[in-house]
Symmetry: C2
Subunit: 498 residues, 2 copies
């Protein structure tokens, strides 16, 4: 079915992909296993692998094959079109950025990272500002190399979520903000208060056993994956070898559990992508937002729901008998769904998390539009924080300096988190419409129907469509905040505003 | 101090070395972490890395630099001579073996491995014999490519232990056999009998804690290394990131302990090689036999000695209080030094282990000399086993089919184990002569004097000298079985023939 140039192209792409998997494993090992004094050698290994990967991905033969396959005289079958489109995208990015620029950005990212870490420690935004300014300049240059000098922020958004733009996101986030801020206010005024310090002293071994049982039941294939411990949870690898991490705190057993379920959502997506087409548009996730929709769907719509706890609460109580003895089911369920605005994004609950993202998106957008100077960021951050979260940071450490992303030049990345939340809710109602008994399945411990639906509609699709088109074809509606608001109102309304 | 071509050569060698460290980590991860169904991708990753490594190691620029540095008109400083000599050796091997041959050998090794595993399972030597014959043919061809067609077995011995030959080994092993067989016979006739089933039900956590304390005290630097669990213990990596493994059995706590100390000996050697010259003759171990001398010295001369147990027995009893309650110090020490011939090499004690090696060496030598046909191996094995060990295998599974080595074409590898034992004993007496109070140090928990002596005399030397020359300069005597026999007589004579 594949033409000879398409076959050769796939082989070239998969060679680069295989090198990527090696680099990825080195990164996983760095977070999970690396002895402290071995970081120098690891940096050298990663630099060499990056060089080899770049050489494989920019192989001129890929360019020649693409030119051949893109000839209008030879209309391609749809599947090959997907492969060629994505390969062109990747090839352009890897060949149009001059090597000197890539080196300059990498070097600056390293310096900026350390400047950020120092600035955060010393609460010294002015010391970090020049590094951020330089990153913005590099970002404009990068967009220009790819022919996107007119819309550099859109270029970065598109890197993370193909097809998405700042205008489209801006409209959705504005609507979400309008609806979400009052909902949060109502929840906070509710006499119902979740207690999050209910479960103390839960031994790590019990937590480990429980989350392993849960994630396995959700469908994570441990024959092709693992879960380990790292400082920050993540999921790496591909479906052939999917490696998740979590972290344990004896006084916060829900943390390890929910972060593991979140990573399981990412892992299930990777394990469901068509393995034979890994490294091509057919075997590749559809973008960061879609990836996040998978993690969020399992973490929030599924695992914060009543049916999930109907299934797993008895086992949870069995493992943590002493710790849960004085905790009622309702208290436990409320702790799982606590809402409490915080200044720190990574500590936020699923309701207010979206407000943190809107804040960052609005500031990034203004920075790129030239409507906000880097030196004015702290003031703008404080004002936005007050408006969105009702909280004002006492210092920049818990404000504009809290996130690592910008220090690495990762712009246009934050929106994906909230796009993922919106898509997750929209998928949830579509799945429920396709199988109304979904929550009865969950209560019986059967998550296979939902997984099968996601496998068919999302995972097996690879990057055939971008996020917008994918949501449209699976849910019959445009991506929007409506489903997310409906879901939040249903779940949190019932708990807090009942 | 280094000339420009030498500097460039080192950079090229270290690039290949860095790729090797990545491959090595993939291998470690395969043994320690790999999910069962992820083996296919790992094989692809390893094949690609092997290709890249081969390209880096056979870079024609290395050949040009070597030619320049080898010009007789430019006599090199001694250190650069070491680098050039080793680089020539590696470059010739990597460039003189045709790619087709390398592929053929790799493919045959894979087939032969499976044939061996099947044959072992089914006790079917005739089914495996053709694969072994083919390996011998490949081995002769390989030696011929390197200009060693007249002495193919010497070629393989030299691959593992530079400078060593079958004749030199044969003379040493003949002497060792003459002395060792009667010693084993006397020990077996002794009324003193070690009990090896003394320590049952020792929890893994306690074993792990104890061996960690021990190996750290011996000097292993856990800032640049780790210990994990795998099916078979090994040590991989270099001094920048040294990864050992062990395995636990609650009823055999001495197994994990001694295998960890063995791997610690390998690890200490790697951690003591000059890091700035890694990948060159100055930063490379001096051969498999020398490597084994380091593991054996710590495992046997040190950790099976009275002084070591004087230091660690109290802590061992503290951790395993219940399990050791009815065990006397003498019983424990005898268990550490039990002697019992077995048909299986990997289960052998340190005394009879050498006989297993002599058996294999004698058969390999005859195979290469054409004095023994593959089809006659089982008979020859049984006869040799009877002669050396006093035991006759009931079937080939516990005879000629027991080892994996030949199925991978690894000839000339077995002798290193026994050469290492001889060298270890010889180093031990040299170290004792340099510091007579060594065992008093041990009893106090101080192993730093021995380590410093090894660092200075062995580790820091890299591959400046081959095994024979190294032993000569450090001990003042030729490598021989004399020290090993003296050591075995002293330690085991005192215990069993007192």
């Amino acid at each position: 079915m594949l033409s000879p140039p398409a076959t050769e192209l796939i082989a070239k792409l998969q060679r680069a992909q295989l090198l990527y998997t090696v680099t990825d494993l080195l990164g996983w090992d760095e977070q999970v296993n690396l002895p402290p004094a071995s970081a120098g050698q690891r940096a050298e290994q990663l630099a060499l692998m990056a060089e080899l990967q770049h050489a494989a991905a920019s192989d001129p033969r890929i360019g020649a094959l693409l030119a051949e396959l893109e000839q209008p005289s030879a209309p391609l079958p749809a599947e090959q079109r997907v492969i060629v489109r994505q390969a062109r995208r990747d090839y352009d990015r890897v060949t149009k950025l001059p090597a000197d620029f890539v080196r300059e950005k990498a070097a600056h990212s390293s310096h900026a990272y350390h400047a950020w870490a120092d600035a955060k420690k010393g609460n010294d935004f002015p010391g970090y500002a020049p590094f951020l300014e330089k990153h913005l300049e590099l970002a404009r240059r990068e967009a220009a190399y790819l022919g996107r000098e007119a819309a550099p922020y859109d270029y970065f958004i598109d890197q993370n979520d193909p097809g998405m733009t700042a205008d489209v996101i801006g409209a959705m986030f504005a609507e979400l903000k309008r609806e979400l801020v009052p909902l949060v206010r109502s929840i906070l005024q509710s006499p119902v208060k979740a207690r999050t310090d209910l479960l103390r002293g839960c031994p790590v071994e019990g937590q480990r056993a429980f989350l392993r049982e849960v994630t396995e039941r959700l469908g994570f294939d441990y024959q092709r994956g693992r879960i380990d411990v790292s400082l920050h949870p993540f999921c790496s690898g591909t479906g052939s070898d999917t490696r998740m991490t979590t972290r344990f705190n004896v006084d916060e057993p829900l943390d390890a559990l929910f972060s593991s379920i979140h990573e399981t959502g990412h892992g299930l997506y990777e394990q469901g992508l068509p393995a034979e087409f890994v490294g091509t548009g057919l075997g590749m996730h559809a973008g960061m937002g879609v990836h996040e929709s998978q993690s969020r769907l399992w973490e929030n719509q599924v695992a914060r729901g009543r049916a999930f706890w109907r299934c797993f609460e008895p086992r949870f109580r069995e493992i943590f008998a002493a710790q849960t003895a004085a905790v009622s089911s309702d208290e436990l369920y409320l702790a799982v769904n606590s809402v409490m605005p915080t200044l720190i994004r990574v500590d936020a609950d699923e309701v207010t998390y979206n407000l943190h993202i809107i804040l960052r998106f609005e500031l990034e957008k203004k920075l790129f539009a030239g409507e906000l100077a880097v030196r004015d960021l702290p003031t703008a951050w404080r004002a936005a924080s007050k408006e969105l979260l009702g909280l004002e940071p006492a210092n920049d450490r818990e404000g504009v300096l809290q996130d690592v992303h910008w220090s690495g030049g990762a712009f246009g990345y934050f929106p994906s988190y909230c796009l993922g939340n919106m898509m997750a809710a929209q998928l949830w109602y579509a799945a429920l419409a396709a199988r109304p008994a979904l929550e009865d399945d969950f209560a019986r411990g059967d998550f296979s129907q939902l997984l099968a639906w996601l496998r068919k509609n999302i995972h097996s699709q690879g990057r055939r469509q971008d996020m917008g088109a994918l949501v449209r074809s699976v849910t019959g509606a445009e991506l929007s905040p409506k489903a997310l608001m409906r879901y939040l109102r249903e779940r949190y309304g019932a708990l807090y505003l009942g």
